[in-house]
Amino acid sequence: MEKEKELLRLLSRNARYSVEELAAMLDLSPQEVSSLIEDLERRRVILGYRALIDWRKVGEEKVTAFIEVKVTPQREVGFDAVAKRIARFPEVKNIRLVSGAYDLAVEVEGRRLEEVASFVATRLAPMEGVVSTTTHFMLKPYKIDGELVEDVEEAQRLVVSP
């Protein structure tokens, strides 16, 4: 169990460690690591693997919006029914129930501004249970999932030192 958590900690930092590297670092055999990972994937503890990409660098235009959604909770299911309904749209990258002045924090990604705007206007806002939406378009990212976008730091060390 402890090894499992250690494995997850390592993968959460870098999903591209090879099975051999992971095995060495965890003091397990490569076979053990492979079967642990398979098991974690099967149990959906590991939901997926993604690269963190700065799309601007390859000239790919993307529009990201953070939408504050107020919702009327429903009897029996609370916020779940509406949240799950919104979550199924492929445009929705992240959706979380949060405390505070609004209920659902929704992150939507599209290729063009109109695409995102239209999603909000025609899909999200009119949905039953949705009381209001406030849309914030992303202007500039500074850090994406724990990685600095610019100003990358590297230890400036001498090649050899005592």
């Binding site: 090879s18 060495a24 670092m25 965890l26 730091e153 230890a155 090649v159 050899v160 030192s161 005592p162």
Partner: protein
């Protein structure tokens, strides 16, 4: 005018240059080198620490501090030493903040040694101990250690080496370059000899936090040893703050007072910016430190495993961030091994003899490097060994617990 050599203090003139220098010059000229030859963390100082320093500068912290270091920092150091290592020191009289452990080491030796006093020094060990002893007028007496005994000095060795002129035992554990640590029992046995022979201990514990199995034990925490020991600690390794140059010494009031005298005339005080940063490190940086240590722990296993696969005998490092494998099985000397490895495969490591004669046949590989670099470096080393071959010798040396 005479030649400059004749003006120099002969003692300084005859000091051998660091054995690392040649490799540095060689490696610095090459591109694409993966260096496992670095004696410092590959992490940048945690941001909260840097940010605290910037904020201090903005508020005008640009002046001298008291000779001993800022009171608030000394109080924080005292609290930390107690929490982490069960060591209790009075921040008013028993702690001195220095420009790295390097300065603290120099002060301790100069405050103690009369010409001809002998200092027992483990071999191999950090490169400064012998020259600093010589410059302070002392006589270094090496305690050779061997891979088969896990590069640990023993009480018996100290007993045998001690003469009426012996004044100081210099302890350097966790050890650079071998990664060896001494456990409570081994330290206890050494402590008994130290007391029986009326010796003092300078204990360089700069790698204390980088102890991977069990907890670091300071010899100063053993019965009757607090008064005989000066503990040297610092921020360089655990908090990734090498360039800040900040360390400290903790020990007997009179001794710390003597060190402070030299310090006030030669250094005045440690830089205030570094002291402000160190204060933040102790207040809020412990979690950052633990995370870095966890990374070293993973890499340590990677390194141990790699040498096992390569068939190079290598004691498992229990502390610091160095592995010290034996490469004599290749038929190459450690110097030749390092030079060829650098020129043929562009991997920089340090010959063991840079750290003393007992490092013969060994190389020091730092695992303060990214997993990516370590993996690539080991791939190249395997290739190197495939070409040069390893003969005989058992592939793993299992050390006593």
């Amino acid at each position: 005018m005479k030649s400059w050599e004749e003006y120099l203090n002969p003692q300084v003139a005859s000091l051998p240059p660091s054995g690392i220098r040649r490799f540095f010059d060689l490696a610095a000229e090459m591109t694409g080198v993966i260096s496992l030859g670095v004696g410092e963390p590959d992490f940048v100082t945690p941001w909260r620490i840097r940010e605290a320093c910037i904020y201090a500068l903005e508020r005008g912290y640009t002046m001298y501090t008291s000779n001993r270091g800022m009171k608030e920092l000394r109080v924080a150091i005292a609290r930390y030493l107690e929490d982490a290592f069960k060591l209790r020191y009075d921040p008013e009289k028993e702690i001195l903040v220095t420009v790295g452990v390097s300065e603290a080491l120099d002060l301790a030796l100069r405050a103690l040694l009369k010409p001809g006093d002998e200092v027992l020094i483990p071999d191999p060990a950090y490169v400064s101990y012998v020259p600093c002893t010589v410059l302070a007028g002392g006589v270094p007496v090496l305690l050779p250690t061997r891979m088969e005994e896990g590069f640990k000095i023993t009480a018996e060795q100290v007993e045998k080496a001690a003469t009426p002129r012996t004044k100081v035992l210099l302890l350097a554990y966790p050890n650079n370059p071998t990664g060896a640590v001494l456990n409570r029992r081994e330290l206890g046995e050494i402590a008994e000899v130290v007391k029986a022979r009326d010796l003092l201990v300078i204990s360089d514990e700069i790698y204390a936090q980088l102890t991977y199995e069990g907890e670091h034990v300071s010899i100063a925490s053993l019965p009757g040893m607090r008064e005989r020991t000066v503990v040297l600690q610092g921020f360089s390794k655990a908090f990734a703050m090498t360039g800040w140059r900040l360390g400290y010494a903790a020990g007997n009031e009179t001794f710390i007072g003597a060190m402070t005298k030299i310090h006030q005339y030669t250094m005045l005080c440690a830089p205030i910016t570094a002291q402000m940063a160190a204060l933040e490190a102790l207040k809020n940086g412990l979690e950052d430190m633990r995370q870095m240590v966890a990374q070293y722990a993973y890499r340590r296993r990677l390194v141990v495993n790699a040498f096992k696969e390569m068939g190079l005998p290598c004691p498992e490092p229990k502390g610091a961030f160095y592995a010290f494998p034996y490469v004599g099985g290749t038929g190459l000397s450690e110097e030749e091994f390092c030079e060829k490895l650098l020129l043929e495969e562009k991997v920089a490591v340090v010959p063991g003899t840079a750290f003393g004669p007992s490092g013969r046949g060994h190389i020091r590989c730092s695992f303060a490097a990214s997993v990516k670099d370590l993996t690539e470096a080991f791939r190249r080393m395997k290739e190197f060994l495939r070409r040069h071959g390893v003969k005989g010798r058992p592939s793993v040396v299992v050390l006593g617990k």
